[in-house]
């Protein structure tokens, strides 16, 4: 199941619809990293609200996405991590260090817009 990537102004939004296979995650990574420059986006939001399990591969891929996108000149924020998932991740030591996180899509957008303002 592929993750659709939507363009909203200066921001790309990728919303997970269901649990993803490793191949889907890699596909998403490729897509986002390509499109962020293609659309000259300044920010990327990855919405994981629909994920009720986050394994180490998914968590590492999210972190890689964030780091690669930073190298491509944009900001990433992960939004919608469920409380149970968050605690399970922390217990497994998957803390997504130096990756921005926000409660939901709205918060993520607010975070990015604030960030853009600071840069401008």
């Amino acid at each position: 199941m592929e993750v659709p990537i939507l363009k909203q102004g200066e921001v790309l939004i990728a919303t997970f619809q269901a649990a993803l296979s490793d191949a889907d995650l890699e596909h998403l990574r490729r897509g986002l990293v390509q499109q962020v420059v293609k659309f000259r986006s300044r920010g990327v939001i990855v919405d994981v609200t629909a994920m009720d399990v986050m394994d180490s591969f998914a968590s590492r891929t999210l972190r890689e996405i964030a780091h690669m996108i930073r190298l491509r000149g944009a900001e990433t924020v992960i939004v919608g991590i469920q409380p149970e998932v968050a605690f399970a991740m922390v217990q497994l030591g998957l803390t997504l260090e130096d990756v921005a996180t926000a409660l939901d899509l709205e918060e993520g957008l607010a975070y990015l817009i604030e960030k853009f303002k600071n840069i401008d």
Binding site: I78, P83, A86, F87, V90, T95, L96, L103, D104, E107
Partner: protein
Amino acid sequence: MVFVGNARGTQAICLVQLEAVQRKENRFMSRQVSNPGGELVRSEAPSELLRELVAHLRQNRTLLREEWVVRITETRLLTAMTKEEIFAEATSVYDSYVEALETEAFEALQAYARNLSERIIPRGVETHEVVGIVLLLRDVLARSLFAKYQTDFKKLNRILDAYEPAANRIANTVAVGFVQERERVIRQQQEAIRELSTPVLQVRERLLILPIIGVIDPQRARQLTEQLLRGIRTNRAKVVVIDITGVAAMDVTVANHLVQTVEASRLLGATVIVTGLSPEIAQTLVTIGVDLGKMNTVGDLQGGIEQAERLLGYKVVTLAETR
């Protein structure tokens, strides 16, 4: 050689079994033989004996009940209740007891025991008292049986054979019912305390405080985390102040849990400020080697809330300053 040995072994086992069967049969035979008045016993089946017994107990209801109440008062049981209450309760217990003896239906008794417990537990009646009064009743009734059948020893024996198991089961049922009810009450109270012990409060738009007081065990820590993370979601909090002024010390497990809670909150997009760390807890956190870059700590709750307000972009100004 091996085969022979095996065969002999099996044979030996067979012999042992055969012997056991024979012994059993012998016992059966000897019992029949040694009991020439077998018909008499058969005509008085346990249920019949119980019926006779119940009739006796019904007949002497007033007397026996009186006796029982006297014994209860003598042994200083149920001191939390008045005399009239004891008498009323004794009457209904007596009737249920006799009924249970008669019908051997323990469900009704069980329900009654639970109902009774529900009424008397809040009055401070103890387990030993409840068990005590039921055992007293059992003894009082047994005595009356002794008195009635003292001339016919064989009959007394048979009556007691019928009475004792039933009486013991009743005592058991009542005691278990009482203890179960007590445990239910305790569980309920524990639940209530647990609910009370984790208040997640919103003090400002998007700002939660979580004051923690008392001892934190791993179970409570887990519950705190759950409540907090859920609270962050429902209140859409951006900043959380966890105040642990009221926690004197925590062990390494719980301290680790606290750190994990802080990290999990960050994954939900909330910043956590921990306030009121006691010297002991600070020591624990240093010992387990917490990455202080992740932990945002402020000395007291006031300072924590002030910093949270700054993070949220609030500025508190006195009225005089605005003029």
